[in-house]
């Protein structure tokens, strides 16, 4: 798909060169887009590729963020320890949650994922003494990496770019692997896959763990980005936004959701200056997209440009 290649290269160049011509504010916005692009891509693995609609994906995002926040404020400021813990925690949560949820069908899965994520939100909100409750945990310092401080917008931007790039590469390896193809098969027809001899549950479980892990990475990035973590990092609004990013961009395409994330982050930033009714706007976009463009931006582009050889995934 030649046009896509060109667009991708242009986007990469833009992101890398951005500090040269973007103000600090807009650079920060770009960084935020990357973080949410990662979050959306992790959800795409689960929803777009495997066909599991989760409303609780924020659970991993928030767990990663809170783990880093709590550790760096209360225990130790060493980046590697906190980051590792920040990745281990959501992975453990994923391992546990999904043991229970993966057997569920469609709507049950929606409900259960939502319910489980809300349990975490409830704890973050209610356990003031531990999590800071509604106020959250402010004052989280950006890490020091090998003597370089990430406190400035520019170094942090590159830090986020590197992490994003690595994760994007890893995710694209997974979706092009035999396992990734099997996930697509499961999305298209679970019964067929079972009868061919695939252990569908095992594949779905692995996909959910991976998805949770990468969402956790996004959460770790975000807590360092903001220097703060609060219950909002575990709220359904964030889950909902991520879901919209995936659908808007094009589920099952990996880069589509990244695009969707960029659009939503930009839109929110822009609209919030003019109106407080961002959630209404979000809701309307939801309704419009599910009604008229369920395959998302990338889906529409693909249809217009005739599909291409990778139309399968």
């Amino acid at each position: 798909m030649r046009p896509a290649r060109l667009v991708g290269i242009f986007a990469a160049l833009f992101i890398l060169a951005a500090p040269a011509f973007l103000s600090t504010y807009y650079l920060g916005l770009l960084t935020k887009m990357l973080i949410f692009a990662l979050f959306a891509m992790s959800l795409d693995l689960l929803l777009g590729y495997t066909g599991l609609p989760s409303l609780g994906h924020v659970a991993y995002f928030g767990t990663g963020a809170y783990t880093v926040g709590l550790l760096s404020l209360r225990v130790v400021k060493t980046f590697w320890i906190n980051a590792l813990a920040g990745l281990a925690a959501p992975t453990l949560v994923a391992l546990g949650f999904n043991l229970l949820t993966i057997r569920a069908r469609g709507s049950y899965f929606l409900m259960i994922t939502l319910a489980l994520a809300q349990v975490l939100w409830g704890i973050a909100f209610g356990w003031r003494s531990f999590t800071g409750g509604d106020d959250g945990l402010p004052g989280i310092a950006r890490p020091m990496l090998g003597g370089w401080s990430m406190a400035g917008e520019v170094p942090f931007h590159y830090f986020a770019v590197v992490v994003f790039g690595v994760c994007l590469w890893l995710l694209s390896v997974v979706v092009r692997s035999p396992l990734g193809r099997a996930l697509v098969g499961i999305r298209e027809s679970e019964t067929r896959m079972r009868v061919l001899g695939y252990n569908v549950w095992a594949y779905q479980y692995v996909a959910s763990i991976l998805a949770g892990f990468f969402a956790g990475v996004a959460g770790v990035l975000f807590v360092y980005y903001n220097g703060y973590v609060g219950p909002a990092y575990l709220s359904v609004v964030v889950s909902g936004q991520a879901l919209l990013m995936v659908i808007l961009g094009g589920a099952g395409t990996l880069v589509g959701p990244a695009l969707g994330a960029a659009i939503i982050v930009l839109l929110e930033n822009f609209l919030s200056a003019y109106t407080e009714r961002w959630l209404t706007t979000l809701g309307i976009i939801y309704v419009v997209v599910t009604l008229y463009a369920p395959r998302g931006v990338l889906g529409i582009l693909r249809d217009r440009l005739g599909g291409g050889r990778r139309a399968a995934t």
Binding site: P53, V236, R277
Partner: protein, 284 residues
């Protein structure tokens, strides 16, 4: 001893509210196979509408009627204009209702503000009554009574009327139902409106009991989910039993472990998921 009785009654009254919500949600899912994520929003809207009508008319009965019917009307509109376009695609419909959740929540915030408010209780039920050693708010007893009556009415509707038979047929096998001449689109609209009616009704009753505030839609939706997971999707009995269970567990949980919030209902939910994923009375 008094403590236990009071807490139990609290739990049961809350459970009745949950039942009303879960019953509507379960009905909509059973017949239309759509998970109505805006169901909590119907509750919220019902509470706020009831609040406004109460302020204007001081009549609880009028508020109940106006709110429940108003929400049902909105649901009807939604179903006919928007949901109907994507029949058969359950995930899309669920996501659409999710968008509606955001819209209603935000609009409600805009119209009624962010402060928690409580609906005034109906005249005659503002005081507490004495039951032996126990002093208990009479309104909560009213809620329990109303819940039981509604439950009985719904059961009668489901089991003893033609409408109920049609609904049950729709739940069991939609294609077959259509095959024997059931007007599915009409059925769907009616069911969606009925579910919304129950939610709006529950909103007014709940609004007087627990107040209404931004976020209540979500809290209540979630608890309805837990009720359905435990009781089973598509089952009225499940909604009732599940509602009671969750109401009691949630209440006692809050009494003993206030900081753990939803965790106390999480445990039985997780247990059911592990052991009997379709719920106590669910259809597989």
């Amino acid at each position: 001893m008094t403590f236990w009785v009071v807490q139990a009654l609290n739990g049961v009254s809350f459970g009745m509210l949950l039942f009303l919500l879960a019953a509507g949600l379960s009905l909509i899912f059973g017949v239309m196979k759509v998970l109505n994520l805006a169901h909590g929003s119907f509750y919220l809207l019902g509470a706020y509408l009831g609040l406004t009508v109460l302020r204007l008319t001081h009549s609880f009965l009028l508020a109940l009627a106006a709110a429940a019917l108003g929400v049902a009307a909105l649901a009807l509109l939604l179903e006919r204009t928007v949901l109907r376009r994507i029949y058969g695609e359950e995930l899309r419909q669920a996501l659409l209702t999710f968008g509606v959740l955001f819209i209603i929540a935000d609009q409600a915030l805009w119209i009624w503000g962010g402060n928690p408010q409580t609906l005034p209780k109906p005249a005659g039920f503002t005081a507490s009554v004495r039951l032996g050693d126990v002093i208990f708010p009479s309104y909560r007893l009213l809620v329990i009574a109303v819940g039981v009556v509604m439950g009985a009415a719904l059961w009668w509707l489901q089991e003893r009327t033609r409408v109920g038979a049609v609904i049950r047929a729709g739940v069991d096998d939609e294609e077959m139902a259509r095959g024997i001449g059931v007007n599915t689109p009409l059925l769907f609209t009616a069911v969606f409106a009925l579910g919304a009616f129950l939610a709006g009704f529950g909103g007014v009753m709940g609004g007087a009991l627990l107040g209404v505030y931004p976020g209540a839609d979500f809290e209540v939706l979630l608890l309805a989910f837990v009720v359905i997971i435990i009781g089973g999707l598509g089952s009225l009995k499940g909604a009732f039993v599940g509602g009671l269970l969750v109401g009691l567990i949630d209440n006692f949980g809050k009494a003993f472990f206030p900081e753990l919030a939803l965790f106390t209902v999480f445990a039985p939910m997780a247990a059911i998921l592990a052991v009997r994923p379709t719920g106590l009375f669910g259809k597989a």
